[in-house]
Symmetry: D2
Subunit: 333 residues, 4 copies
């Protein structure tokens, strides 16, 4: 961390600051220039509140040089985290398909799709029970009943399940869920993240629509700082000026997140574009640049899906994507 002091800053205040910084176990090197004095802080600055220092009236500017997250930081944990979900491994060279419908709609539907995506090559079943919808008048999901149906589909197929949580008070309902998903709109619901940090269960953390990669990693840090180190990061498209797609898939997030962090990185091409016919090429792009998995919406009758239908694949389309991704993965090794 570099602290740039204001010209003619009060000497006593500067001394107070340097004393305080040293009490935080930081070493300080001072560069005195004609117009500016720069303090170079050396040590673990991840727990230093940058806003606090910025607010001092003797400070012109503060610039971080190292990252403000530690648990999620590859510098401190060079080896890939591998998350094991009932024998299916994610990360560290292990690739998984998370597939299923946008929403759970009925027992028949979810068990039917589960069987189809399993046959096509998916190992983990996705399906929304609690649905975050922009409009209060849109279908809000089957909620607790939907969770029950997902567990039935797990029993019928042996597939572990991943499904979204929308409020910390619902955690008890998710006791038998294998992976808890935090949606893009809740990526900075810090009270929820803290509670999830006390569980011993993988958390599938989706990037917020306008969150930077650093903010995503800080949200992972919230969970990990509580003791739960099983976090799966998910790139699902960001909000930009472009209107041709619902969101813009930030494909460079994949290699960058894997460089900065040891956590597995999964791509959701269905939500990233909101257009079913882009799922196949985006899945190939994600696999080609090193993603650890793909979350893909699959529906046995996309035209009838109660939400997000236009982005869902049919099971045969999904099977084609699985084969294409396996081909690409075999040839980039």
């Amino acid at each position: 961390m570099v602290v740039i002091l204001k010209n003619h800053a009060d000497k006593d205040k500067v001394e107070n600051l340097t004393n305080w910084l040293q009490s935080q176990k930081l070493m300080i090197n001072e560069v005195k220039g004609e117009y500016q004095t720069i303090l170079g802080l050396i040590g673990d600055t991840s727990r230093v509140d940058i806003d606090l220092i910025q607010s001092l009236d003797i400070v012109e500017d503060v610039k971080r040089i190292s990252e403000p997250y530690k648990c999620a930081n590859r510098n401190f944990h060079p080896d890939d985290t591998v998350i094991d979900v009932e024998g299916y491994k994610i990360g560290g060279g292990n690739f998984q398909f998370f597939a299923g419908p946008c929403s759970v709609e009925s027992r028949e539907q979810i068990i039917g799709i589960a069987k189809e995506v399993k046959a096509a090559g998916a190992n983990i079943l996705r399906g929304g029970a609690f649905k975050p919808r922009t409009s209060p008048y849109a279908f809000q999901g089957m909620r607790a009943e939907g969770l029950e149906l997902l567990l039935e589909a797990k029993k019928a197929t042996g597939m572990p399940i991943v499904t979204e949580i929308m409020d910390a008070s619902h955690i008890p309902l998710f006791e038998n869920v294998d992976i808890i998903q935090v949606g893009a709109r809740n990526m900075q619901n810090f009270e929820l993240l803290k509670e999830l940090g006390h569980l011993d269960k993988p958390i599938f953390l989706k990037r917020g629509l306008s969150s930077t990669l650093q903010e995503l990693l800080m949200s992972a840090e919230y969970i990990m700082a509580g003791g739960n180190e099983k976090v799966i990061l998910c790139e699902r498209g960001i909000r930009t000026f472009e209107t041709a797609t619902r969101n813009t898939l930030d494909i460079s997030a994949v290699p960058l997140l894997k460089e900065k962090s040891h956590l597995p990185v999964v791509v959701d091409p269905s939500h990233a574009s909101g257009i079913a016919r882009l799922v196949e090429p985006m899945a190939y792009a994600a696999a080609a640049c090193g993603a650890d998995g793909l979350m893909i919406e699959v529906h046995n009758d996309p035209a009838k899906a109660l939400c997000d239908g236009p982005q869902a694949l049919t099971p045969p389309q999904f099977a084609k994507v699985v084969k294409g991704v396996e081909n690409i993965r075999n040839h980039i090794k």
Copy 2:
């Protein structure tokens, strides 16, 4: 709502669709062109799930013509909503200053600032007890204890208080709070919004960092659909490519929100730019274009604030803003 059907769409499916739309009490006018058929839907389309129609395989595109919100819509409620908070009115030509520190830090601090901002012209005291911070290592607020101190400051000064809620489970703690604030990061925390819809208490709803005006109004609709019509909208800056300011104040949101909705619109120039010396000009801009109030961070010692310090004004700076705003408001009437 206009539904554009695909070329050569299956006739039976089209008939199914038109029957279903009519069952939703919508009138349909059909335009048959050489290449496309267009269905014009007339009636209350605010409760129609656009995604559901979009997902049908016979549908090329769906375009909304009227807005998907109803309770918040000025078309259906032409008169300004006026919210009365212990005798202080917001909206309908009534202007209020919401002022106070970013965070409650101590009894002495919050009562001291409350007295100063009241003397300077503020009627409503703001102060954070629960603080959403990007880093788990940053100060998270005094939480329940902070709420107690705010209530003491209210007793000492007679000022009603506004403070942020971060989780629906905290609602009982907010029983004596006058206005509950929903922060930008929770604007689409729909479970929280639904719970707030069951209260009889004003909700101060901040626009999300990358939320459109329509999404802000849909979040207001979540609260209002539950029965709570006392919603105050707040523009506090959006995330753009520009890095000179923390966020970009979208000043055109003020007249646009007031045109589309009958709800009061308040501007927060402190968070919008994150730079204290921009608060005064941004406050004047907001007043000049018709805002119903301003939320401004004030600190008796900005250099010591535990968070967001660089954007807080001193009480004398705040007093200057209050006078300037009153001048402008007197001369645009």
Copy 3:
């Protein structure tokens, strides 16, 4: 400028770098930490190519502390630049209205509007002769003939004129134009900027749709580095995710540009939102926060304008804005 060297950087290469930096008349202060060495550069770094240093394999990162522009920088020119256009002053407390139609369409039209906007309080006539249009099939302006008609309108009313140039080869046609405008799409047409730098004529430089304030000032620097110091900066809205307005007016650009630079700052509320009924409130906001002028589209028959019609005011609407702005300016002094 702060250069952060890589851990274990080659000593000889570091010495080469420091020698070269010293040859650029920069003083260097070195901070050696356990993991990193930081070089603080003191002196005029505005002419240092940051990319060149960044590219060295011994360099981890480079951060600018002072701004990379000098002619446009208020630090080096504390007094406001005042530009005199045939007796009408812009900047330094002098406020001007630039008004007129989007496009010049006929002699009758441009002289008619000129008279009307002059009567309403405008001093400088705007009108497009060369029109940048997204579609090659849209009206491209009357071009050279339009310039002739603008000069006739000047003769008829005594108003100096401002009009847009689209290519450096057209400069001779602009000999009698009083102020040459560079449009948003050409803000980084560097060949054009260089040529305009050799003229002795004010340049009205519009901010690009996705240009940062620093890039705008760097484009001003291109013109000023050539010797032409008469640059007027114009905020006209930036491209964001919001679709309710054509662009998002970045109102904080006004005080920020005036803080960073001594050049006058004008706001164009017509293009910023693309909606005529937002021009009045946006004009008031701009005046309230310190703009030096307003560029406003006015049309005697907005419904017939050949381009950009929906954002133009009628002369009576414009006259109302002039009075409102004068009121506000009288009361913020």
Copy 4:
């Protein structure tokens, strides 16, 4: 195109409008609702000026249903355009590498790199002679002399060359250049595009930093409307809120552009991220999702490059990318 008329629009004005539309060879279907009348226009609307119609006071809104470009539109030209450059084909299943340094710096440098990239698998040599730089103080390229050196490199290696033009007046200098590049900052330099439309030479058109795909296609249309149908589209990253990369590669642009247009689509992973170590994964992503080529910066001594160094690969790194891309392309067929 759908025109939504205002409630109670003047009947005579509506008749004038419908007569005019019919004179443009458009068929009109009218839907009269209780509150709104909708005109559905059928025929070639690509040449209709949407702004003109929008500006009429009887019009509430206008929505395009078909695209406003025709020459570049795949609907009217279903087969892929294949561009032949001295025997090297681009598009229609033919893939090319465009490689070379950011800037031409010397004869030795450009011929040296040309030989190395050719040996590694590139067929077309890139190199900047005219350089658009944000700062007037940064290296501006060798200009005309740089073009001469590129032609020498062509003679020495047989590789056709692609290089950027910055002003229409330079066209004569580009007579022997094989492909003329239009940079991102000039994508809407319409005067330049029109001039390039009169040449019989491929144009390599880079997407603007904040241009939509539709705007890119409209700029291609400017060139094609002039008669030059040899346009190569290039995705090179867009400007977003994310600061971890210089720009955000919009990978979904590849399949979307190929769906909307018959023109070849090339990706520039070097400029998209500005980070050399992301070039390899981004190149693989681009190849995996169907790009027709890659433009990659290669430098024999990246640490010495006069500009954009941090994003250039060494020849061995480039050779690895070529092999990886070929592997992927073999396995997605």
